[in-house]
């Protein structure tokens, strides 16, 4: 569905289903060089169960008009504007990788609007290696191949993909290539810099921690994630003492590598919000 946010076209996948008034709305936020489609398995299921669902394309990604925003703070402010445009007062936010920082920052900027936070493949500070940053700047196609490799537990997955017949790493790679094609303006580098320079994570985590009752928090980690290793997230997890941690045997692309396990973790989390 298309919205207008700050005068520009913004897209969010809404699934099919009839929203039930008692079910919380859920907003899904993708990571660097991705779009809403990484969340399809989860968004579709929640929509079918009567949740209002918005799986957004960030500006400059997929179907949302560019240019890409340069900081996590701007992306979070944009997300809140999108909620206004969609008429969503309060929602649970589920973010992946860069999207998890956006969710965290949105909870800092507008705590009253966030029902809960699900942070997948998250860490803070989210340092991006100099080598990867430089490759993203000079050779985006090569950066895409590197990230494809590093974002999956194996290039030949250990279990059949979902939907049937899909080769998950290959689909991830093509998606990133498509985003390059749609937005040739160094999107990957812009996103990586936003991750790398996001400085407000500590404050945001402290604010979420202070609002423990108001903002239930869930971390979903891939045990074999080398992009945001669970070990690197220890400080962030510790900063939000009430947060629960779910751990899944997969890499960084949790939602596509293990769609059913991620669904189950999110459903359990959302049930408790009520």
């Amino acid at each position: 569905m298309l919205f207008t946010v700050n005068g520009a076209t913004a897209y969010a996948y809404i699934g099919t289903g009839t929203p039930a008034p008692d079910r919380p709305a859920i907003v899904f936020i993708h990571g660097a060089q991705n779009d809403h489609a990484v969340w399809t398995a989860q968004a579709r299921r929640f929509a079918a169960q009567g949740h209002r669902v918005l799986a957004v394309d960030l500006p400059g990604h997929g179907r949302s008009a560019g240019p890409a925003l340069a900081t996590v703070e701007q992306m979070a402010a944009w997300l809140l504007d999108l909620l206004d445009a969609a008429g969503v007062q309060r929602a649970a936010l589920a973010g992946h990788s860069m999207g998890s920082l956006i969710a965290l920052e949105a909870a800092f900027q507008a705590p009253a609007r966030v029902l809960g936070l699900a942070l997948l493949g998250s860490t803070w500070p989210m340092k991006v290696s100099d080598a990867l940053l430089e490759t993203a700047r000079t050779d985006e196609a090569a950066a895409i191949d590197m990230v494809t490799l590093w974002s999956h537990a194996g290039i030949a997955p250990a279990a059949p993909g979902t939907p049937p017949g899909f080769w998950v790493p290959g689909a991830a790679r093509r998606l990133m290539q498509r985003l390059s094609q749609l937005n040739p303006a160094q999107l990957f580098h812009t996103d990586f810099v936003a991750c790398n320079t996001y400085a407000n994570g500590g404050n945001a985590a402290a604010a979420v921690a202070a609002a423990a009752i108001a903002c239930p928090t869930l971390f979903v980690q891939g045990r074999r994630d080398v992009m945001t290793p669970p070990r690197s997230a220890q400080a962030l997890v510790a900063a939000i003492p009430h947060a629960r941690v779910a751990s899944i045997d997969c890499g960084h692309s949790l939602m596509t590598e293990r769609p059913d396990d991620v669904c189950a973790a999110l459903q359990e989390f959302v049930r408790r919000l009520n």
Binding site: I155, P157, P160, P163, P164, G165, P169, G170, R178
Partner: protein, 375 residues
């Protein structure tokens, strides 16, 4: 292979990548593995190569729509496009695959896709034909049965969809099954926005509760719809056993193709030098018009099928075929046993199997001599 630069990819054609799952339903594993071998996003296994081609066309085109195809496909594929699908209201214009202007001239508002065979009498100039297709918001489907993912990477050169028959992948002449692979390269959403051609992929589908496949998957909308609609409608699904046979065959694909190609090269060179032979249509020969193109697209070789023409017309071709003893008289390809069939009036089509090449050469030499003697 055409995937990311990783250790697993350089050997996927020869071996199964380390860590690949070897349990679970064979069909799903096969579909995923062919997608990986091709460097695409998703595979769909079907009952035959014909079923894969039919599924691809039926997913994109309906009554009143139109296909542009190379005039050189396998006889079965030609029949499906020229007759079977025409009865369903899908018209096909056949063009000279070597002439990009002919592809372009055949496009109509109701055209939905281009179809070409990678390898046959001609080598399909995938980059050139794909450029014409993409300039007109059309996808290019390549039948890569004779090339296999080991010899050709269609998606790297611009193809959007690929179909395979089971023969070479299974390594058995009689193997049943086919595969359809979505490369994830074609932007259905953008093409539909400009042309309105792909409503089934890009607009809410009442049949599926208003689902929009191009929203659910940015790069795999075709594969989603082909499976959810076409595969379930037409029912041309593969059996578990046939899928298992193909999976097993894939593990030795590279070894077998190298051997097929070595034999075919030898045979083609021998034929080309033989006085009884008028013409050899094997692109590996530097006299073939597609030789330079073949070098570029098919660096590992031009497959196992060698068509050639004999001096002396149909009668000589008949005498030649009758004299063969090692080559069987079958048009099946992909297995270990060589075969020879008529392919037009004075043309013979050889399929080079995995036998000792000395035996094959001796058989051909003897049969050629007998073919000449009767003249």
């Amino acid at each position: 292979m055409s995937g990311p630069n990783s250790p697993g990819f350089t050997t996927l054609a020869l071996h199964v990548a380390a860590g690949a799952h070897d349990s679970g339903p064979a069909v799903a594993r096969l579909e995923e593995r062919i997608a990986a071998l091709e460097g695409g996003v998703a595979g769909i296994a079907t009952a035959s190569g014909q079923a894969a081609l039919h599924l691809a066309v039926a997913t994109l085109a309906g009554a009143g729509d139109h296909v542009v195809a190379a005039h050189t496909p396998r006889p079965d594929a030609h029949a499906l496009l020229a007759h079977g699908l025409r009865r369903q209201g899908i018209a096909t214009t056949f063009v000279d695959p070597r002439d990009p202007a002919a592809w372009q001239a055949a496009i109509r508002p109701e055209t939905r896709l281009f179809v070409g065979d990678a390898l046959g009498h001609a080598v399909l100039d995938i980059p050139a034909v794909a450029a014409v297709a993409h300039a007109h918001d059309l996808p290019l489907l390549v039948d890569a049965t004779l090339a296999t993912p080991y010899l050709l990477r269609p998606f790297d050169h611009g193809a959007d969809l690929v179909v395979h028959g089971a023969g070479f992948l299974a390594g058995q002449q009689g193997a049943t099954g086919g595969l359809l692979v979505d490369g994830g390269t074609f932007d259905w959403h953008a093409a539909h926005a400009r042309t309105g051609r792909y409503a089934d992929l890009c607009e809410p589908d009442p049949r599926f509760d208003g689902r929009v496949f191009a929203e659910e998957s940015t790069v795999g909308a075709f594969a989603l719809r082909a499976r959810e609609a076409g595969l379930s409608d037409f029912g041309a699904a593969i059996g578990t056993h046939a899928a298992g046979v193909m999976l097993q065959g894939l593990e030795t694909l590279g070894l077998r193709m190298d051997r097929h190609v070595a034999g075919a090269r030898l045979v083609a060179a021998t034929l080309a030098a033989h006085p009884a032979v008028a013409r050899v249509d094997y692109p590996d020969l530097d006299t073939h018009p597609d030789h330079a193109l073949a070098r570029r697209l098919l660096p590992r070789g031009c497959g196992a099928v060698v068509p050639f023409a004999l001096h002396g017309g149909p009668a000589a071709a008949d005498r030649f075929l009758d004299a063969l003893t090692v080559f069987g008289r079958t048009d099946g390809t992909g297995g270990a046993r060589s075969g020879a069939t008529r392919d037009g009036a004075d043309t013979v089509r050889l399929f080079i199997g995995l036998e000792d090449t000395d035996d094959l050469q001796a058989d051909l030499g003897r049969a050629l001599k007998l073919a000449q003697k009767g003249a």
